[in-house]
């Protein structure tokens, strides 16, 4: 098996349009959560807070490429271009068949889907639909648009597993490079905020509804006063590259991926399942060939739902006890769903580089049910040699990735 390193990162997040603004925002303890004007016109929508990202400079993408892109695909193109520039990989090498692109998301552009239905359904009239709506709405819209725009001719895939989408994308890319099927894969996830997206969680009683007047205090992962998740949006992209190739061209490396696993709970569509999470984490550690004691930091899924956080804390306690520092980043920029795995991994890699663990924002009083693990509640100076990133999605889909710092 080949070794796989991360040689570039790119991000569009609620904290800003690049990686420095994402990491800097976290470092400063900023919250990108705000009250959403106009959302109160949706009858029955109780959660009126979200973490929007700013759509800007989209016209830098030529019209013919941009016409098939919804908001989430523009984010994906921008994050991918950043990651390529960061990795110093030129566009001229992308059409080699050995370079691929895997971008996950829960679904296609929510805004475009709504527009398509609003156009078509009132009069059951298809003649008003534009040709481009389809390409904005499909589940592989981000992967397809990025690949078309950049001329990628290797593997092009879209992992669609809700909140585990981008971690699955990175895991799939890791497997392709490891097995020698691709030399370099652009991996990540993209997601788009829309009231209908928040609504899909709201009707399941999974959203934060009690902080509409005080948005910066939610979400509150693992906190006694948490009341649900807050939806965010954006895109995180990483460049996965075969180790020798990266070494040969003198690429900088953010870390080496050494383990990954994903698996279903086979139990319930929304309720997290402790045993299956424990199994997933165990399988990821085992694929990395390390013990739980060798992990220095866990970047939790930690969405701030009552049930999810408790089960995650129990699972982490079962595997790691209270030895390993744990934090969730969702207090800073909400739950970016299909993008969360990649965005939070990028922030975690920055922690690894800086030797500091960023705390869980809004965690003030650890909930009784979430105790027994080592919560990071203020910035913690700590060398991170190995980190684990976890994602647990609706549909009972778990994913865990293990990364190791590479000595320069």
């Amino acid at each position: 098996m080949k070794r796989v390193v991360i040689s570039g990162v790119g991000a569009v997040s609620p904290l800003g349009g690049d990686v420095p603004s994402l990491v800097g925002g976290i470092e400063e303890g900023k919250s990108a959560v705000r009250y959403m004007e106009g959302w109160d016109r949706y009858v029955g929508l109780r959660s009126l807070v979200a973490a929007p990202a700013e759509l800007k400079n989209e016209k830098a993408i030529p019209r013919k490429s941009r016409r098939s892109m919804g908001r989430m695909s523009v984010f994906a193109v921008q994050a991918t271009e950043q990651a390529l520039a960061d990795a110093e990989v030129g566009r001229e090498v992308l059409s080699s068949d050995r370079i691929g692109c895997i971008i996950g998301s829960t679904m296609g552009s929510a805004e475009s889907l709504c527009e398509a239905f609003e156009t078509m359904l009132p009069e059951r009239d298809l003649s008003k639909l534009t040709a481009m709506k389809f390409f904005q709405c499909v589940s592989h819209t981000a992967a397809m648009n990025v690949a078309q725009y950049l001329g990628i001719t290797g593997y092009v895939m879209a992992t669609s597993a809700a909140c585990a989408s981008s971690l699955q994308a990175i895991g799939a890319g890791y497997d392709l490079v490891r097995m020698g099927k691709q030399d370099l894969v652009l991996c990540g996830g993209s997601e788009e905020l829309h009231p209908t997206v928040t609504a899909s969680f709201d009707i399941l009683f999974a959203t934060s509804t009690g902080y509409n007047d005080d948005p910066q205090r939610t979400p509150r992962p693992f906190d006694a006063e948490r009341d649900g998740l807050v939806v965010g949006e954006g895109c995180g992209m990483v460049v996965l590259e075969e180790y020798e190739r990266a070494l040969e061209r003198g690429a900088k490396t953010y870390g080496e991926i050494i383990g990954y696993h994903t698996g279903g709970s086979g139990d319930h569509v929304t309720q997290s399942n402790r045993e299956s999470i424990v199994r997933c984490i165990g399988a990821a550690l085992s694929s990395a060939g390390i013990s739980a004691a060798e992990v220095d930091y866990i970047n939790a899924h930690g969405t701030a739902t009552r049930h999810g956080d408790e089960v995650e804390a129990q699972a982490i306690r079962e595997v790691f006890g209270d030895a390993v520092p744990v934090s969730s980043l969702k207090g800073y920029f909400g739950h970016t769903l299909g993008a969360s795995g990649a965005l939070e991994l990028i922030a975690s890699l920055a922690m690894m580089e800086k030797g500091v663990i960023y705390p869980t924002l809004n965690l003030e009083t650890v909930d009784e049910g979430c105790k027994g693990i080592r919560h990071v509640m203020r910035p913690l100076r700590s060398e991170i040699g190995v980190l684990m990133k976890n994602c647990f999605a609706f549909g009972g889909i778990n994913a865990a990735l293990v990364c190791r710092r590479l000595e320069r």
Binding site: R63, K64, R67, S127, K128, L129, T130, A131, M132
Partner: protein, 92 residues
Amino acid sequence: MQRRLAEQEVVATINEVLEDYFEIEREKLLPEMNIFEDLELDSLDIVDLVVAMQEKFGVRIRDDERIRSIRTLGDIYQFVLALQEEGFSGRP
């Protein structure tokens, strides 16, 4: 059509669609321009151009065979003017 438009109004409306939706520079909007070679539209753009024209002129032209023979911007102007001559007097 909502009401009979003067030729200049038809031209201005079509040009506005090409400028706003297809981001074509105003200077290029001349009747002799080939919409594929000069204005760089493709078959997908034509679908969206038809949707935009249906909206702007209140006509239903998606299945009109004459669309297939359109080559220049002038052909589009003439096509809409011809539709007008045929007496599209209200929203279909």
